[in-house]
């Protein structure tokens, strides 16, 4: 018999204190999913948080879905679709057997109402650019929807797979008002919203009528699990212990140090998403003194050892990043992007700074015209703190003094909206090169999310060309130019491409992880008891 590790026992005790008695005495078809932080609300139009999307993918559906290969668009609420030659009119044929959790029948009018609510200024909707430049949405009949754009949007179908495009019951929005997404969220997904205790748990029940899941699921519905409880367990040790002691059943938030430990446990099934695009980078505020100097930015890039960071704080589980987006993502311009400045070469970094007149002083740091080569970085906590300390050590060897200010997640978003820092940390999900470039490099996106303050008319023009391209080739060409331009400018230090691991506890079959928006369970239809 295996002796439980002290970590397991201690963590189990701690977790037991957190979980209510009802959870501990859970029925066989209740599954507890552990995660680190809660969402601000479960409204698809008013939150960009991954925590929101995780639940919305389960409680709602989108017109189309994304295959685990992260490239192929699959039907979901739409059975089929056509795109006009000018790329401005999308016509969707919808399923006629779909119902909301409330029992209301789903029709094209619900899609129209959902998008119009998102775009309505009164909603204060987020990332509305992901809807494209909408001219009009028409519900031709119950099962036909026309989505007309003012200008083509080559990324539209990819964006339509994201949770922002979740179809909601507009009657419930009117009924709940500001409480929509807080006290309820009526969708057509495989699970139904039951209750939410912020920062504690979200309870979802099986949608019994559900049978229209994406075709890449073996079970397209209804779910084989009756109840899913999304439980907030912030401490790494507690999640690791919880999954081993059956206090929790699933987590994708496995600390890197625990992956080998869980993989070695025959009762735990750890899976990895085959395609997952989530990149960690450190950005320069290029309008600030020193950070505005290309030579300094290149030297700093060369001084950072991404491989050591991937093997250190990420325990060898992440992939060192030498480009701003993952090489396997759609439209990555491998042949156009020059990644030679993104490898580790300390001597070259020192030489660049020497040539630029930055000489080493008595304290080991570099000076020029009496000014110290010192930059201030704002950073997140947790693993970012370890990454930034490693980077600080690397830069110190090149004579660069990096000051780090670490902020809690509740504070840092406000801080990142200011102009008071030279560098900042960030990680982000994306489905394509266009998705990433359109997020961070349009001049209109300053100061957030374009925190580097990149403002270039040519870039804006190319981004526009990419967005409105009518062919895959034209889209690729436009985005390749942007990728080359921003990589040459060394405005980021790419750190690692994050992997996604999913751990399923002893009661469950292995769960294939999906890479969409960092929400590994996606529709939750692969969750099944042994």
């Amino acid at each position: 018999m295996r002796t439980p590790r002290p970590a397991t026992l201690l963590g189990a005790l701690a977790l037991a204190a957190l979980l209510p008695a009802a959870t501990l005495a859970s029925a066989e078809t209740t599954v507890t999913v552990m995660r680190t932080i809660d969402a601000d609300r479960y409204d698809p139009h008013r939150s960009t948080a991954r925590s929101t999307s995780e639940a919305l993918f389960m409680t709602g559906d989108t017109l189309v879905s994304l295959d685990p290969d992260m490239r192929t668009i699959r039907p979901l609420l739409a059975k089929s679709w056509t795109v006009s030659e000018d790329g401005k009119l999308y016509t969707f044929k919808l399923r006629d057997d779909v119902t909301f959790c409330s029992g209301k029948k789903f029709t094209a009018k619900d899609v129209k109402a959902s998008i119009e609510r998102w775009l309505d200024p009164a909603t204060k909707g987020v990332v509305k650019n992901r809807a494209g430049d909408v001219k009009e949405i028409r519900a031709v009949d119950d099962t036909t929807l026309e989505y007309e754009l003012s200008q083509p949007y080559s990324e539209l179908l990819y964006q339509m797979t994201q949770s922002f495009h979740t179809v909601i019951n507009i009657d419930q929005v009117k009924e709940l008002g500001e409480d929509f997404g807080v006290k309820g969220m009526d969708g057509t997904g495989p699970f139904c919203f039951v209750s939410w205790e912020p920062r504690n748990q979200l309870v979802l029940k099986k949608h019994a009528a559900y049978k229209w899941g994406p075709e890449f699921y073996e079970n397209r519905g209804p779910s084989k699990i009756d109840t899913i409880i999304w439980k907030i367990v912030p401490e790494d040790n507690n999640r690791v212990a919880g999954i081993q002691s059956k206090q929790g059943d699933i987590t994708q938030y496995i600390p890197y140090w625990a992956i080998d430990q869980l993989q070695a446990n025959p009762q735990i099934a750890v899976t990895k998403a085959p395609y997952y695009f989530w990149t960690y980078f450190v950005g320069f505020k290029i309008t600030r003194e020193m950070a505005d100097d290309l030579t300094i930015r290149k030297a700093l890039n060369l001084a950072v050892d991404q491989k050591a960071i991937a093997e250190g704080p990420f325990f060898g589980k992440a992939e060192p990043a030498y480009s701003y987006i993952h090489p396997e993502v759609l439209d990555y311009a491998k042949d156009q992007v020059d990644t030679s400045i993104y490898g580790y070469d300390l001597d070259k970094a020192k030489a660049l700074l020497e040539e630029a007149g930055w000489k080493v002083g008595n304290d080991g740091f570099r000076y020029k015209d009496g000014k110290k080569l010192k930059l201030l970085a704002y950073s997140f906590t947790n693993i970012w703190q370890q990454v930034m300390e490693a980077m600080q050590g690397d830069l110190r060897k090149a004579g660069v003094d990096l000051e780090i200010q670490i902020f809690d997640a509740t504070v840092i978003w406000g801080k990142l909206g200011t102009q008071d820092f030279d560098m900042f940390t960030m990680s982000y999900p994306y489905v394509s090169a266009g998705d990433a470039m359109n997020l961070y490099f349009p001049s209109g996106n300053r100061p957030t999310p374009n925190r580097v303050n990149w403002a270039d008319d040519t870039t804006d023009q190319w981004l526009n060309e990419g967005r409105s391209a009518l062919t895959a080739e034209a889209r690729f060409d436009a985005y390749a130019k942007v990728q080359k331009q921003v990589h040459d400018a060394a405005v980021w230090i790419p750190i690692v491409h994050e992997p996604m691991y999913m751990a399923a506890g002893p009661r469950l079959k292995p769960i294939p992880a999906h890479g969409i928006y960092g929400a590994g369970l996606y529709k939750g239809l692969a969750i099944e008891l042994k």
């Binding site: 040790n237 050591a308 300390e389 050590g393 690397d394 200010q405 670490i406």
Partner: protein
């Protein structure tokens, strides 16, 4: 006038003759307390190590090498390596220096401010109300809350944490000083000082303060341990020293995720905090036993 001016000296000028005779007695009594001697010996060594850290640390405490990450103690690295592959022994020496500096500055500064406020409250009765109400307000705030508030305004770092610790030390010392000063104020020599026309400032700092000094000193010694502990706690939650500064609380926090497979990273600085706080508490208790006249009797 001549007769009166002679009286105070005859009555009891606290800082003069009797103190000189008392000192050897205190030291002798302290030497009899083995625990106190052990604590002072330990603290002397710790302070010396902290002061000499730049010269005796075997490695640069900021030199990271991720290939040595979380390595256990070895011949090359006596206490092992931390999560950045840095030498833990070197960081411990520098960490002691930072932690003690924060504690000593905060208690020194907070103690001085608190003592002055306490004296003013005792001596000028019209100031007593306002000063003590402010002290009451300060006492009603948990120290951690002070730390959070000050870090929010000044930003996290050793400076803001020292400010927080200083503010936290003021009210209790002010209260203790006021209590001690009120007792001394009843003594005849204070009345005599007033009678001969001595200035208020002179009475407060030449006669009142020296006679409260032993009480304040004992309390400061005890407070030092608590301040170091509070500083470490604030650093542990991320409000203290920022990377890469070595500080015991921050070092303990850095290692908490690796507790089960690299326990040395967190436990070594935690044990150091424990030992230092314990030593200050033992020393403070012993000093109280020796200096408190009631206990002496």
């Amino acid at each position: 006038m001549t007769e009166l001016s002679a009286t105070p000296a005859a009555v009891l000028p606290a800082e003069t003759a009797p103190d000189r005779y008392r000192r050897p007695s205190i030291w002798r009594k302290l030497r009899r307390d083995r625990a106190a001697m052990l604590a002072s010996g330990f603290l002397t060594i710790v302070i010396a190590l902290g002061l000499l850290a730049p010269w005796i640390a075997p490695y640069d405490p900021y030199d990271n090498n991720l290939r040595n990450m979380l390595k256990p103690p070895s011949e090359a690295f006596w206490l092992g390596n931390d999560g950045q592959g840095r030498d833990l022994l070197s960081r411990l020496l520098y960490g002691v220096r930072t932690t003690l500096s924060m504690g000593l500055i905060a208690v020194g500064l907070g103690g001085s401010i608190g003592a002055v406020l306490g004296l003013l409250a005792a001596y000028f009765r019209h100031l007593e109300g306002p000063i003590m109400r402010v002290v009451d307000v300060l006492l009603s705030f948990p120290s951690i809350l002070f730390g959070l508030a000050i870090a929010a305004v000044l930003g996290a770092g050793t400076f803001s944490i020292t400010v927080a610790l200083t503010v936290a030390a003021v009210p209790s010392i002010a209260r203790i000083t006021r209590g001690a000063a009120l007792v001394v104020m009843q003594q005849e020599y204070i009345a005599a000082c007033r009678a001969i026309g001595m200035s208020d400032l002179r009475i407060m700092f030449r006669h009142l303060l020296p006679n409260c000094a032993s009480t304040i000193f004992v309390y400061l010694t005890l407070q030092l341990g608590q301040t170091i502990l509070l500083g470490a706690a604030l650093s542990f939650i991320g409000l203290g020293a920022q990377p890469p500064t070595a500080e015991l609380g921050t070092m303990a926090a850095d290692g908490r995720n690796y507790l089960f497979f690299a326990p040395h990273v967190s436990t070594i600085p935690s044990v150091a905090i424990f030992m230092i706080v314990l030593a200050f508490n033992v020393l403070g208790d012993a000093l109280r036993d020796v200096l408190d006249p009631r206990l002496r009797q």
